[in-house]
Structure formats: C-alpha cells, structure tokens
C-alpha cells in the first residue's frame, strides 16, 4: 500500500467499497464518513496506514442477514434520502451519534450539531434529523 493513500482511496479503489463517496476531498462535506474503531472520521483526510489494526465500518457492513440496521431502517421509514450521494456518510455519522447517545435524551438541535460534519445539497435535513431521533427512541 502506498503510504500516501487516503483511507477513502483504498476503500473505494482497492476494496471496492463504493458506499464511501468522495465529495469535497478536504473534510468539509462528510460524504466519505466511515467509523474507525467506532469513531466517525472523514476517510479523505485519514491516511489508510493509520487504520492498520483498527476496525473500519462502512455502510456495506451495517445490514446483517439482509436486515437493515436501526439507523438505516429509520432513514427508509422517514424518507430521509433524496439524491442519495450524502446518505452513506450520513448513515455512518448518525450511527456513531446514536451509539454515543444511547439512552440519553437529546434535542433536535443536539442532533443537528452531531451531524454538522455532513452536508446534504438537496437540503433534506429535517427528515434526517427525524430519522436519528427515531432510531434513538427505538434503542432505548
């Protein structure tokens, strides 16, 4: 592996995990959000070699036995998807947020802050926030 390669490049081009989208490539849009040891990061700004020995989660692995994860199902139920390019990044950021805030009461504003690193140019934020709120409720 070339030590200069970003995790985004390796995941997409070498491992074929194309849910990880390249948007801005400079850490502003969140389309390439993946979880490294369950912590959301922008894969475009994360060197692939840093992930050595760590667990990496992408949308591809979130559904188990053809069953969507709670967050994925909430996105479907709320129609929190428009054109879809930001969706995998949003799902991963939302998954980390839900896991971090399990059993805690959070406001819509806190959810917005928790997802502030992800942009949706269709501006479908409201349904996304509702989806996160629902998956938090389902988890408690």
């Amino acid at each position: 592996m070339d030590p200069r390669q970003s995790l985004l490049e390796v995941l997409r081009e070498q491992l074929g995990l194309i849910s990880v989208k390249q948007g801005c490539a400079v850490g502003e849009c969140g389309a390439c959000t993946v979880l490294v040891d369950n912590v959301p990061i922008d894969a475009c700004l994360y060197l692939a070699i840093w992930a050595d020995g760590r667990s990496i989660r992408t949308v591809e692995g979130e559904s188990q036995n053809d069953r969507l994860s709670g967050v994925q199902q909430a996105f479907v139920d709320e129609g929190a998807v428009q054109c879809g390019i930001c969706t995998p990044g949003f799902v991963m950021a939302a998954t980390a947020f839900v896991e971090k805030h399990k059993g805690r009461k959070v406001t819509r504003n806190q959810i917005r802050k928790g997802l502030a690193g992800n942009l949706c140019r269709c501006t479908g934020y409201d349904t996304i926030v509702t989806a996160v709120q629902k998956s938090l409720e389902d988890d408690t």
Binding site: V26, G30, T33, P40, G114
Partner: protein
C-alpha cells in the same frame, strides 16, 4: 497538511508522519495541579476531558466550535497551534490562560509562552528539527479563574471564525482582580489585549467598566479586510464581543453587573 497536499499547495520534499506517537496523546494533572495536554490529543478528547471541563471549561467551549464531529475526532490541538493561523480557535482560550509550550529538538526541551509562539500568519517559533511536545496551563493561571468564549462566524459549524474571543477573569468582592482578554482573527496572530486588561484590573464590576472595555479594545487590535469580512465590520464585532464575553466571564465568576 493533507488538505494542502490535496490542493497541491504544499512544497515538501519529505514528510514525517507523527500521527501515531502515543506518548504525545494525553491530558494529565501534575502533582502541582498543572494541566498538561499532549499536542497529538484530538479535539474531541480535549473538549470531553473531565479535567478540562472541570478546570478550564473555556477551552472546551472553544474547541467545541471547531469544524464538525469528524474533524474534531481527527484534528489535534497541537496541529491547530502549529498551523499558526490567526483564526485558530484553540489559541485564544489558551493564551488567555497563559499557556506555556514545551518544544523539543535534538538539544532537548525548551519552554515558551504560547503568546510568543505566534510570529505571523502561518508562522510559528519552531526551528527545523523541533516539535511541540507539551501544552501546559499552570494551576496559578486557572485556579479561581472563570472564563467564556464566543466565536462569531457565518455558520454555527464547519466555519472559520470571523472573530473569536476568549476572556478569563478573577473576582474578589465585586472587584475585577484580573482580566485576560484574547482575540483571534483580530490581528496577524492571535493576540491578548494588554492595554485594556491593564486598565480594567482592579476596577469595580459595573456596566461602565464593560462600556470602557468596549471602547479601549479597538486600540489593542489590528484586523484586516478579507473576503470574509471588512476591517470596519470586524472592529464593530470586536467591540461588541469584548463587552459580551467579559460580561459572561464575570457572571460565570459569580459577579453581578449593575
């Protein structure tokens, strides 16, 4: 650094990756009560640290405004300081707390106040072969002090400060015993407002005091016009923020303003 490389802006022959040096990723309280932060500690860890929240919450407030969660999970406090930009959000609370840096090179460690570390836009007092190894806030500089931070920007997240302001103060019997006021993006480097601080120290807490701080603070700063904001607009924000942020710091210290 990776953003610079992506945009083809960096002129580097060789890069040494220090990302995984675990010895530089820590937050501790020394036996003397000093808080020492390792430069490779990411923003999320600093802002959620129980030590930081308990003793220097103003740093947590400031860091919570940086980027978004993904950025804060990766970006480090040392990277923010060594990048040397006037808008660095972690710089103003730390210079208001009189933070000291330990810089280490082949000849061993040396110390310097953070305020002297910033030389100009994008320029800091690191010699070749040196790296930042510790950021220290001594007990005498935070015990009994209360602070506040405010970042004025166009958006609530993922934005660079138009103006950032930190105030740290100590009160006794409604008298402002000490005030330390710092601004980001108000000069070529993050700065302290020395003459305003001097005039405010020892005065009784009052609305008149806040009004005076608002007036004199403009002489301590030298903002420039950029595409983000005009100089005149920045001066107005600085005068307003000085008053508001100092007021909140005083309230946090248990003071009342008449």
């Amino acid at each position: 650094m990776l953003v610079k490389l992506h945009k083809g802006k960096g002129r580097f022959h060789h890069l040494v990756d220090i990302h995984d040096i675990a010895e530089l990723n820590f937050i501790t309280l020394t036996d003397d009560g000093d808080i020492v932060i390792g430069p490779l500690t990411c923003f999320t860890r600093v802002s959620e640290s129980s030590l930081v929240l308990k003793h220097i919450p103003v740093l947590s407030e400031a860091i919570g405004t940086i980027g978004g969660p993904q950025v804060r999970n990766m970006a480090t406090i040392g990277g923010n300081l060594c990048n040397g930009v006037p808008s660095a959000d972690s710089a103003t609370p730390l210079i208001a707390l009189n933070a000291q840096l330990t810089i280490t090179g082949p000849d061993g460690p040396r110390q310097m106040p953070l305020e002297e570390f910033f030389l100009g836009p994008g320029s800091v007092a690191l010699e070749p072969h040196e790296i930042l190894t510790e950021i220290t806030v001594t007990r005498s500089n935070y015990a009994g002090y209360h602070g506040h931070f405010y970042k004025y920007a166009m958006r609530d997240a993922m934005d660079i400060a138009t103006i950032g302001c930190s105030a740290v103060c100590r009160l006794k019997d409604a008298v402002l015993k000490d005030l330390r006021l710092a601004f980001g993006t108000a000069a070529p480097v993050p700065i302290r407002c020395n003459s305003t601080e001097k005039k405010a120290r020892g005065r009784k807490v009052s609305q008149k005091l806040l009004d005076d701080i608002s007036k004199t603070v403009v002489d301590d700063v030298s903002p420039r016009s950029s595409w983000r904001a005009a100089k005149e607009f920045r001066l107005q924000i600085i005068a307003t923020l000085a008053q508001r942020v100092v007021k909140q710091a005083i309230l946090n210290a248990g003071g009342t303003i008449h």
